[in-house]
Symmetry: C2
């Protein structure tokens, strides 16, 4: 899948790009089922909220076939290669739960801040891709982005080890206020299968989810191969060390897997 010139321009202008109909309902349903199987397991890669509800599962593309196919999907890999201008590898892969009633806050942050400080990534030449597994609504803790905030480089941040179960380099109120005065806040909403690409320096966060509607999102972080991490400090299932360029699978690979699984179950 290739982006048009206007889409690429929009990405550079605002720092994100929303693709509402990237994956089908059937593909999204497969991912939801597989996510639940993973959350129910007791792997070290599954992190939980303080309440015990799942918060995120790392590296699912390394131990689950559906997420392996998603992690090499041409609808995700090709647009990012186009923007970064070279092959990409998988720096991080997270299946975030934002569970019904219990999904906790993600404070305002830039992801590249963490990749630089904790992993030694030389430049912000890596991209986040959010794949919606559930409908993301205004009310169930949607991802909030500060448009244009990616143009400010890597901002000063503090290491928040207390607010949630996930350590995060977070921005202070004055910084967020200043950036929001310039760019506002958007919270793209959409159906399962929608995709949101955003720059590694784009400021984002999300409020807790107090509704009965879960808001599960897969996050791929695709990094330009030449921009591989130099001084990783986190485990290799959080910040991957396999810098091999991703070879995309066939466009229908995920769908074929969903159908195969359904036939096998019948």
């Amino acid at each position: 899948m290739k982006l048009g010139a206007r889409q690429i321009e929009e990405f550079h202008e605002l720092g994100y790009l929303f693709l509402p109909d990237c994956f089908s309902a059937e593909e999204a349903a497969l991912l939801r089922d597989e996510a639940e199987r993973i959350y129910a397991s007791s792997r070290q890669e599954v992190w939980r909220e303080k309440t015990g509800a799942p918060r995120t599962a790392f590296a699912a593309h390394t131990y689950n076939e559906a997420f392996r196919l998603l992690g090499a999907h041409p609808r995700l890999i090709e647009p990012v290669e186009q923007i970064l201008g070279e092959p990409v590898y998988m720096h991080q892969f997270k299946v975030n739960a934002k569970a019904a009633f219990e999904g906790d806050v993600w404070q305002w942050h830039q992801d590249y801040g963490t990749w630089a400080r904790d992993d030694g990534m030389p430049e912000p030449r890596a991209m986040n891709i959010a794949v919606f597994m559930d409908e993301v609504m205004a009310i169930n803790g949607p991802l909030m982005l500060v448009p244009k905030s990616h143009r400010h480089g890597t901002l000063a941040a503090a290491h928040d080890l207390a607010t949630t179960s996930y350590p995060l380099w977070t921005l202070d109120k004055d910084t967020v206020t200043r950036l929001v005065e310039q760019g506002g806040i958007v919270a793209p909403t959409g159906k399962p299968g929608a995709v949101l690409l955003f720059h590694g320096n784009l400021v984002h966060g999300s409020a807790p989810n107090i509704t009965p509607y879960p808001r599960r999102i897969v996050y791929l972080t695709l990094c330009a191969v030449s921009n591989y991490i130099r001084t990783p400090s986190r485990p290799d299932w959080i910040a991957h060390r396999d810098f091999t360029p991703i070879v995309p699978v066939a466009d229908d690979a995920l769908l074929a897997h969903a159908r195969h699984k359904r036939v096998a179950a019948e």
Copy 2:
């Protein structure tokens, strides 16, 4: 101000009624200014979040002229008298802050649950009126309502003394899920000056506000005079003991006060 037959029907059907243009920008600005003065004081009526940010100020109509006028405003008193069919008195008056970055959650609850259990109010013949002082947006912790949930009577609840600084009788996840399956969730958004009336048994809550946009709302609880509280256990500045019917002020009283204050300041 009188409601039309269709508005009254809608209220009984859904449990709430939204009036987007009830007060002017000038009237709302006065209320915001006065709210900030109150939050900056150290009165016992001002309760704070665990972070120290203001959460709510009780009984402001008893010690602040602008809120006194709001608490007797015909645009609020008359519609509620119309629905309840008799004169009303002020059971509770709260100026809720939902402060930028720090405004914490209000868990799912019915207000009448608290009025019955803590104050001995005989029947759910009291109404909440929310007056928006700031723009309420989808992103800054809007009030969320479960339409039609007021038809289920007073639901079993647990006394939550831990989650926030405010003790609250809250509903469990199964109950909320069941009601949301029937009625969905709405989160009315609107400009400063908008008003939301809702039934004392309507299930509602709000997520934390992590944005730089404060979301200040005044809540009046107007109770039918014959339904006065019988066995109050909370202080009289939380659950009032003055059951005198409210005599509405002039429709322009709040606006006149705003202009008078502005002239005096010049």
